[in-house]
Amino acid sequence: MRKQNQEKFRWNRKHLLGLKDLSRQEIEFILDTAGGFEQISTRSIKKAPTLRGKVVVNLFFEDSTRTRNSFTLAANRLSADVVEFTKKSSSVSKGETLIDTARNLEAMGIDIVVIRHNAGGAAKLLSRHIDACVINAGDGFDEHPTQALLDVYTIRQARQTLEGLKIGIVGDIAHSRVARSNIWAMTKLGAEVILVGPPTLMPAQVSRLPVRVSYSLDAVLEELDVINMLRIQFERLGSNPFPSVREYSHFFGLTVDRMKRAKCDLTVMHPGPINRGLEIESQVADGPNSVILRQVANGLAVRMAVLFLVNQGAAEQAKKKA
């Protein structure tokens, strides 16, 4: 089935900006491609020549350790050259603009830009102004497509399919790009998504998204097959959406106690980095239901697939133009 999917489908996108506009087939194609790359990590020589001679720029305007390292490693494994560009928050109207920064890099001859930015839409903006491929590594509260791809990849690995699964996403939905990309990817692949958190951390008109919403974790816990615990991002919280960390943990923390009431095969996920004892207790994060480290490992394969595919998409588009 998956094999067939690959054969009749041709990937032709040169950017990966988000998952909202991707079809189910495209998402599955990325996951299948990632499956092929997964074995490279298990070989003694962990390298393929796929992107030899290509230059990948990690253009990071926000702190990130795991996503940036994961992209760097993924690019290295595909034999690309990687340029690291880190600049603390760019949102200033004076000084060099995002577009000028990117055009300058492009003038040096680059092929793929991986961008992380604090403003929603930054990746889209970039893609309109440069020729290189653009991969969104997280923009504001908009999307974080590779995170969601590795999440669904991990779920598929653990549960074979997302079809019919009930997946809870718990925490700060309002300020989470991970949640948005997750919603698009998971629902397209046939899962039911239940957003869980206090009303103050739900975005405006959340009911118009293709999801269910619950303000009580306990009310939905027993029906969940998968739970994705979002990190509380204190730096993004505006006017105290909850009274205290203690109160938040009390209502929304994934505790050993709560695990006893959940399905015994509940798949526990977290995009990291974990606030141990806040949204998730250590015994749960490190316990048998947790796939948190699998997520990290799978991130590598997914990002290799995305780098490979956008490069191929660019080649396809160049061919069409010629």
Binding site: K20, S90, G121, Q205
Partner: protein, 427 residues
Amino acid sequence: MAEKILIRNGRLIDPANKVDRKTDLLIVGEKVAKVGAVDVECDRVIDARGRIVAPGLIDLHVHFREPGDEEEETIASGSAAAVAGGFTSVVCMPNTNPPIDEATGVEFIHRMGRQARKTFIYVMGAITKNRQGVELAEMGLMAEAGAIGFTDDGAGVQNAAVMLCALKYAAMLDCVVAQHAQDDSLGRSGVMNSGYNSTVLGLPGIDPLAEEMMLWRDVQLVKKTHVRYHAQHISTAGSVKIIREAKEMGLPVTCEATPHHLLLTDDAIAEYDTNYKVNPPLRTQADTQALRQAVKEGLVDALATDHAPHLQSEKELEFLAAPFGIASLECALGLYVEALIAPGVLDWPGLLALMTYRPAAVIGVKKGTLAEGDRADITIIDPDAEYVIDADKFVSKSRNCPYHGRRVKGRVEKTFVAGELRFSADR
């Protein structure tokens, strides 16, 4: 000898005087000398067959960026854009850099306007010093220098006591106090309407309540003071309701609506196009409908562009970082036609009323009429001319216009200010 210009065979619409008929109009010098059949020798005859001859249009809300941001617009370039859009009078907002918060600033704007010799320029001064919402600016001295009203536009006066004080003080000056109603505690960090689209785009929203709460508060303050109050660029269905109630109570409350709030919704922002980033933000279809309904009911006193020019390079920033504003002075008429005449909300006399004598009444000036003896501020319009808006041809310095490429109907052909032809489309 004063120049005699005859405008022949036009459809003369003078809404204030309930005139709508085919007739001639004679300009002598700065004034309208005669309306009706004219039998004198003229220096110049303009055939206005099939055209509307209207009182010069008035825009209560423009930003000409001078002093401080002359790279975006100057009083000269903005004035040229105004007459190209048919506007013979505009009201400049005080949020320049530095802001217009004292008499010398008011005098400067007037002087630059006279030098530009295009449109007539009125000035609103700031309500508070440096537009900070804390201490009253020298409203009296600004009024003496010619300011016709006050606003901290760009932001609302947050503190109710300060606003109450401003309203009371304005009573002595007989000036209108205008407000950009927006409660910062609900709206400050937002960049677009708060709703489904902001959720999907992951952008911080501005709740409609931010506008409505301040507007409601101000109406209570007007109830107490009975001072003329003007709600600038109202954008929500809730605001319409508050205005309706205020008018039913007989309060001296007026309001304006912009082309973008009548035409566009936040659906337009799907691709993070910063040309749609404007404050107050584009709302939903229910809101545009409510605004049109308000126009139909006569609740809206004036149409105003909120012409807000910005550099291309600034609008090419991230949506979060790009400045708010739409430049629309030169294409406004066609947009109003699309929003209000095409769907049958208004007819031409109704539309022109909201662009002539009614805005004049808001700022308390005697303008926007075409009776004999009136100043000859006249706009000649071809109501049937269709054209495609081309922002690259704007005489404004800026191009931040989301209507670029839009086909509209209704074109300004000639603009006279004080009897002088200041704009002609065929030139």
